[in-house]
């Protein structure tokens, strides 16, 4: 058998919601273990791209290949860390319950958790520094702790590709740091990571590659090349202000994308 290429390939991908097209003709490749910051203004299609990658939205045209196979051929290799606003925090589940959901792909509907599942969960909890909270209800945690629960779930899933939607928004410094540390560990494990963010500085300093997106690909490549004033101007339009060498983007928090 030929060795399977462990990478993500998008070819001429278009996608959108009922009648409204959000992403146009996106073509890019992410190398084995690559880490990409997805940057763009609100409504640029960052969440749409992630929804297509997890199979929540159908493709309008083009194709997505994971390990050289079309999306859907693998059920266990893409993990998604949702935005905080997408989760019902009043649901009666504990931290352990949520992290254990990361093992459901291996368990199927009927098998009960075995020792391997439990140790993977425990390891993920320890890695995110929340093992002491394992029996708490998720609704009782702080915002940063809640995010770490979902990061731990993604770890327990042992994915090949990890998608994080705005993980740096509205969380405390400790959680930001924990997330960045996690990214470094994932790099060592050769997990491919896509992170959406509106924090240009974070994207430039912490990610080797940046995808600048505004409904279509504006620029993609190493951060220093991509984040040129011209490209940022093109992506953000009138919502960017240059003060000397510093680009100020007139946006703080992403509104819910429709």
């Amino acid at each position: 058998m030929l060795p399977v290429e462990n990478r993500l390939v998008l070819e001429n991908v278009s996608a959108g919601y009922n009648g409204q097209r959000v992403l146009y003709d996106l073509t890019l490749q992410v190398v084995h273990g690559g880490q990409v910051a997805v940057v763009g203004p609100n409504g640029a299609g960052k969440s749409t791209l992630f929804k297509v990658l997890v199979g929540l939205l159908p493709l309008r045209s083009g194709q997505i290949l994971i390990h050289g196979q079309p999306i859907g051929a693998h059920t266990d290799c893409v993990a998604y860390v949702p935005q905080r606003s997408e989760v019902d925090w009043r649901f009666p589940v504990t931290v352990t319950d949520v992290v254990m959901m990361g093992r459901y792909n291996r368990q199927g509907w009927l098998r009960r958790p075995d020792r391997g599942d439990r140790s993977a969960c425990q390891h993920a909890l320890e890695q995110m520094g929340i093992a002491n909270l394992s029996r708490h209800a998720i609704g009782d945690l702080s915002g940063g702790q809640q995010q770490r629960v979902f990061l731990a779930r993604a770890l327990a899933q042992e994915p090949h590709i990890l998608l994080m939607d705005e993980p740096f928004t509205g969380v405390d410094a400790a959680t930001q740091e924990a997330t960045l540390t996690l990214l470094e560990q994932l790099k060592a494990q050769q997990v491919t990571v896509l992170v959406s963010t509106h924090d240009l500085r974070m994207a430039a300093e912490r990610f080797e590659n940046v995808l600048l997106l505004n409904r279509q690909l504006i620029a993609y490549g190493p951060a220093q090349e991509v984040l040129s004033p011209a490209a940022i101007q093109q992506a953000f339009g009138g919502r960017v202000l240059f003060v000397g060498d510093v680009a100020v983007v007139d946006e703080c928090c992403p509104p819910p994308e429709g």
């Binding site: 009922n18 199979g55 059920t75 019902d88 649901f91 009666p92 509907w109 009927l110």
Partner: protein, 284 residues
């Protein structure tokens, strides 16, 4: 005291009534957890009313009333799913349309049957003392089926309720599972008819589950507590009904409501009184 408890049970109709109520109390309470967590209370109420035309048609054809109710409930559940699919119209709008249409059709059919008027109140408010042995067997069989299905589909139902995106990532058939849950709900409502009636089924779905929600933070525990509250309400309600001579459905629902109020005020952590005591001790 013991005599006070055993006297009603010397009647066979009371024994059957008690058995039927316990089955209904437990099954409603378990599936009710998903009704509460997924915000389907309106849907449950609508389904309960939507079975009227099924019962009327079954009566006209001189068939089994429960079977008629079952067919109608499943049909309406699937129609609501179909209309609200892909977000063509909002689900609560689809429910409102089907609810009113089915209820009107039911009333229209029933009003054409003159002799039926007396039995209508039994359908609306239940007649637990009129449970026949075959009714009891059907309720028992369907009840066990629903409970087994809820246990077997625990993980998929949990995932589509808590995190639909994860369901998509796992490639689990969320749409199909949603319909299965609706059908289980329809089955539950049908077996509840005889005990609490169309008008009060929604309360049996929602009240024990809401009580349990206040007392725990884990779904399996919530289901067990909810089932206990449901069974307790049916037991106490039936004795109340016997001794105070009030309608059994009302007595059961009022008992469940009393349980809810107790939990609402006194539950640890979530109860109003508990929170107040804790706050004041924190300040001083």
């Amino acid at each position: 005291m013991l005599e006070w408890l055993t006297t009603p049970l010397s009647y066979t109709f009371m024994q059957r009534g008690l058995m039927a109520s316990l089955i209904v109390g437990v099954v409603c309470a378990v599936i009710g957890c998903y009704v509460v967590l997924r915000g389907m209370a309106f849907l449950g109420d609508a389904l309960a009313h939507a079975i009227l035309p099924g019962i009327a048609i079954a009566y006209l054809l001189q068939g089994n009333l429960m079977l008629g109710a079952l067919v109608a409930a499943v049909a309406v559940a699937l129609l609501i799913g179909l209309f609200s699919r892909q977000g063509t119209i909002r689900e609560d709008t689809a429910i409102g349309i089907m609810f009113a249409a089915a209820l009107s059709l039911g009333v229209a059919l029933i009003s054409s049957i003159r002799t039926y008027a007396v039995d209508l109140s039994h359908i609306l408010f239940g007649n637990v003392l009129g449970v026949s042995p075959s009714d009891l067997w059907l309720a028992g069989g369907l009840g066990v089926f629903v409970l087994i299905a809820v246990a077997a589909l625990y993980k998929p139902f949990l995932v589509i309720s808590f995190d639909p995106v994860l369901a998509a990532t796992l490639r689990w058939p969320a749409e199909l599972l949603r319909h299965v849950l609706l059908i289980l709900l329809a089955l539950t409502i049908v077996i509840s008819l005889q005990t609490v009636g169309v008008g009060l089924v929604a309360a049996m779905l929602v009240t024990p589950a809401a009580t349990a929600y206040l007392l725990t933070r884990r779904l399996p525990v919530m289901m067990v507590i909810s089932a206990l509250v449901g069974a307790f309400s049916c037991l106490v309600g039936l004795y109340l009904s016997y001794y105070a001579n009030i309608a059994s459905g009302s007595a059961i629902v009022l008992t469940a409501t009393a349980c809810f109020l107790l939990a609402f005020f006194f539950a640890p952590r979530r109860g109003i009184i508990w929170q107040r005591l804790n706050n004041s001790s924190g300040v001083s």
